[in-house]
Amino acid sequence: MSEICVENREVVVPGDVLARGMDYLPGFGTYRKNEDIIACRLGLARVEGRALKITPLSGRYLPKKNDVVIGRIIDITVSGWRLDINSAYSGMLMMKEASSDFIQKGADLTQYHKLDEYLVCKITNVTSQKLVDLTLKGPGLKKLTSGRIIMVNPYKVPRIIGKGGSMVAMIKEATGCHIIVGQNGIIWLKGTPKEETIAVRAIRKVEKEAHCEGLTVSVKELLESETGKEVAVKNANNEGE
């Protein structure tokens, strides 16, 4: 006899039994012991058909292929730049991936990117030993000049972006800020100081109440009262990535 021992979206902790019996399959954040499926992470349990998964609520960012991240240059090597991507592993941006110019052998790479600069990059590859390759070639990938950087919990990023970028599009529209959200939990904003402050407040609210329903409405209300303007909720395309 198989049975599920948790409700959908219930908070579970390591060691909790999620289901008994072989009819269910262990997904992300779970493992099988004998006949039982047991949680091995803190998060929200999710039942998807026969699979049981956990949506984590906390933790550091783990690099994943095709993620767009914001990184800070921490080192310059002979062949490229090393970036801190807010994770246990740093990313490597090779010369070839950074510029379409021909770069002379032994050239001074600081003429392209200096230390401590922030770049919007895409992860092209992650090896089993977590060596991370980055690229700057692609739509929206660029060097960031001016603006401000804030850090959020990387597991709340999907909610900050919203369905098809709707949440971040709304914040952009209401405040007039330029915003880029990296999957690694680093967010870049640029606007007037007042606009930035309002946008940061809205993002913090989303981060704090990420698992709440009706979040779009309450963020809309926050933005309206802060800016004093009507805010339209719309399903924008995913330019917020």
Binding site: G15, R41, L42, P56, S58, S90, Y155
Partner: protein, 248 residues
């Protein structure tokens, strides 16, 4: 807290009036340190442990890195004013080094760092106040803090000290009992993986017979299951509280 003079009679009733199988009051809070990736406050009687977990993050110096999986690194520290009476000299000691090591060993079987090669998870324990059982409190706190930090774990570890004072097999000895002078005392910190009942820490100080040791360990196992419930509850409380904002 004053040190009570224990009477010369055989030890039959515990000085603080507890049952032989009764732990001191336990209070657990998860997520008490904002800067850390995960944290916990664990209080058992007069013993208080704070734990902060940082990482997984890059490990330096590099020769310590393990390409096969992450490294778990514990640091146990008693604050200078934490003891009973004497000032604890700050900085590492032989004792703190040993306890850091046994903590690592007791947490290692459940913590799965295979996803984090070459990285380190740092676990810092500070004890602002101690009244015996500090390594057990530290292990309980570390286990909650690691889960709070989103580290993959097979199960949580629970730990309690058991032992014998005079002729009585007891759970969770306090300082007065550990320091009992008119008879043999055994102090046995144990840690269990509650779901399987496996032992992940077993140390002993003092003397005890084989039968009594078995009895004491069984008692510890039973109490660890209870402590495990409290640990899980504390973690859920932290997130449930956030969840209560749901829809309201």
């Amino acid at each position: 807290m004053p040190i009570m003079k224990v009477s010369k009679m055989a030890y039959e009733n515990r000085t603080d009036g507890r049952n032989y199988d009764e732990t001191r009051d336990i209070e657990i809070k998860a997520g008490v340190i904002d800067n850390a990736d995960g944290s916990c406050y664990f209080k058992i009687g007069e013993t208080i442990a704070y734990c902060a977990v940082y990482g997984p993050r890059e490990l330096h110096p590099r020769f310590l890195q393990d390409p096969a999986g992450g490294v778990l690194r514990c640091s146990y520290n008693m604050m200078p004013f934490s003891g009973i009476g004497d000032r604890v000299r700050p900085g590492g000691s032989r004792r703190s080094k040993e306890i850091s090591m046994v903590m690592e060993n007791s947490l290692r079987p459940v913590v799965d760092l295979g996803e984090y090669p070459n990285a380190v998870v740092d676990v810092f324990i500070e004890l602002p106040q101690t009244d015996a059982g500090s390594r057990c409190a530290a292990i309980c706190a570390a286990s909650v803090a690691l889960a709070d930090a989103g580290i993959p774990m097979k199960d949580m570890i629970s730990s309690v000290s058991v032992g014998k004072v005079d002729n009585m097999v007891l759970v969770d000895l306090d300082y007065n009992e550990e320091a009992y002078e008119d008879g043999p005392v055994a102090d046995i910190p144990v840690a269990f993986i509650p779901s399987t009942g496996e032992v992940s820490l077993l140390q002993m100080d003092g003397e005890i017979s084989k039968e009594e040791l078995k009895e004491a360990i069984e008692l510890g196992k039973r109490k660890c299951v209870e402590i495990n419930k409290l640990q899980k509850e504390a973690l859920k409380n932290k997130y449930q509280k956030e969840g209560d904002l749901n829809g309201q």
